[in-house]
Symmetry: C3
Subunit: 245 residues, 3 copies
């Protein structure tokens, strides 16, 4: 059983993040909230999302699983204006999921979740730890986009740098001092990442969001941030591109 109400902006924020990786998803529902674990088809990135019941305007659920096609959920979100409340309910008998926005009722078949296995979330201990506004990361990502398909992240005890090297062009964004919320780097680390994944994720994070970046040399980067006023939490892993020298 699942029945809840949520602000359209909150649902939109969650869907935007998840749909950078996949379209058909399985939410695991408990009385305390919902969680999602997913990898993209190419197994380059993984997302772990936890949404507390408090992120909803009302929430009533027993333990269950709900499979949804996010492309369809996006068409529902387009029907809601800012400030609208979206009511959601699982209709187990008919295998349907029902959205209500004011006098509009929109129902869709649930996606079969029987073949969707939760990926195993890696337990990584990454040495470098940087906290920074997503706005800064977005600037570095935009600067990189015209240069290369990859972006290099480098952290030292002095600065956190996003950079990119092309054949004839370079760009670098060096963040230090008041550019950063915190910087905890015991020894220099450096890794290279596919720019498109990084960029799609950053574009989906609302301006003003603080992001914790955990980094080590030639390890996945781990990005951690909150949504829905802190009642939802996202952990995102992105595999490095190993440079062959």
């Amino acid at each position: 059983m699942f029945k809840a109400e949520i602000k359209s902006e909150t649902l939109k924020g969650l869907v935007n993040i998840i749909s950078t990786l996949i379209d058909e998803v399985k939410f695991t529902i408990t009385p305390e909230g919902m969680t999602l674990k997913a990898v993209d088809p190419a197994h380059v990135a993984m997302i772990e999302l936890n949404v507390k019941a408090k992120a909803f305007e009302s929430y009533s659920a027993s333990s269950t699983e709900i499979g949804l096609d996010l492309d369809k959920v996006k068409t529902v979100l387009k029907l809601a204006g800012p400030g609208d409340i979206i009511a959601m309910e699982q209709d187990e008998d008919k295998g349907r999921f029902v959205f209500k926005i004011g006098n509009i009722t929109r129902s869709m078949n649930l996606v079969d979740t029987s073949s969707m296995n939760d990926p195993k979330v890696p337990q990584l201990s990454l040495s470098a730890n940087v906290v920074v506004l997503v706005d800064q990361l977005q600037r570095g990502m935009r600067a990189a986009e015209s240069i290369s398909d990859h972006i290099s992240l480098k952290a030292t005890s002095e600065f956190f740098e996003l950079s990119c090297e092309g054949d004839t062009d370079d760009v670098s964004l060096k963040l230090q001092g008041s550019d950063l919320d915190s910087l905890d780097v015991p020894s220099d680390v450096h890794s290279l990442f596919p720019l498109d994944y990084f960029s799609n994720l950053l574009k989906a994070i609302p301006a003003g969001t603080k992001v914790r970046v955990e980094l080590d040399s030639d390890y996945p980067v781990k990005l951690v941030f909150g949504l829905a006023g802190g009642e939802a939490n996202v952990v995102y892993f992105l595999a490095p591109r190993i440079e062959s020298d």
Copy 2:
């Protein structure tokens, strides 16, 4: 003879509605105003437009016919800013139509109207009568667009419903009580219509316009609304899609 001045917004509003159906049109001009009757090439929809002389800033005409290519009139409208007055004049000797917007003069060949016959406007007595803001119809139309190519209109003594059924998805907008301006339905009626025609028309109607919807089971729907501050009147018929059960 035809010589008139009109606000650019008013002309734009009229052109937007007509051009949902056809590009080359014949206006029938009298000293009292202009009228237009037209069907689309597939004979699915018909429009009857009456514009009183009062809708114009100035108006001077004897009985005549004017053929225009609305695609060209749209390029003229793009040259006018909000608040601009557009002067129009038929040049019978040269077979031309001349628009003036400030210091711009734009002339175009008149379209030959000799082969354009006025369609016969059907005299239908449709039992259900609903008056509603176009904004509500536009919401229902947007909700339907992602689901199916057809939209179902249903009226009962309790509500007016726009709905859509796909293979795996449904949507419905149920309007009742204060959602409606009036509802006069002696017995339940229900018809199915092509969504693209319905949607193109609704998008061309300015927000805040009251629309009278006349409906019967498996009959054309008749939509009646005013433009140009009530000095223009539109009657629009859309043929139903007969469901084969």
Copy 3:
């Protein structure tokens, strides 16, 4: 040696004008400012640009030449917000040009200028002289765009007219009296020009800019205007299309 700072809006204004003609350009640098002379690949139009040192926030240079790819400079401009200062520096040893915007550093290879010869600027004495706001020219150009590939410029002692004749359509913008800042035409002149060049240039000139138009029958038109608050000056020549009667 070249090292300077410039407002992002000022650099953007200059790049927009030049890039209507060519992508790879050679700037000639002196301690007093920079100049550029360029023709488009089809040799239909020529631009001569002079930017005084005062157009920059800071400026320090010895005589040199700098070759840049304006497409790349445009990606740099996208990283700057309104009000941002862009620092620029030539790195002669590495053959690079370096832009800095806040904590972003963007460097690119200099373009080889050895094969770029300055075109000879024609010394023309054109009899008709009109000064007009670019906004008026832009209106005439927009009116012409739907009619033909060419635009006719005509000047008399009474008016300055932009017009266009198609097979079935005409348009004309007649500027006179208070539409013009000045009109000095000893005898009627008239020429035809390719609309795309004219239109691309006009779109790149900021609204509110006064343009001096120098015209003669079947001669190039010369457009002269200022940028950067008057600290930059543009002279633009466009070859006429000779009508074969």
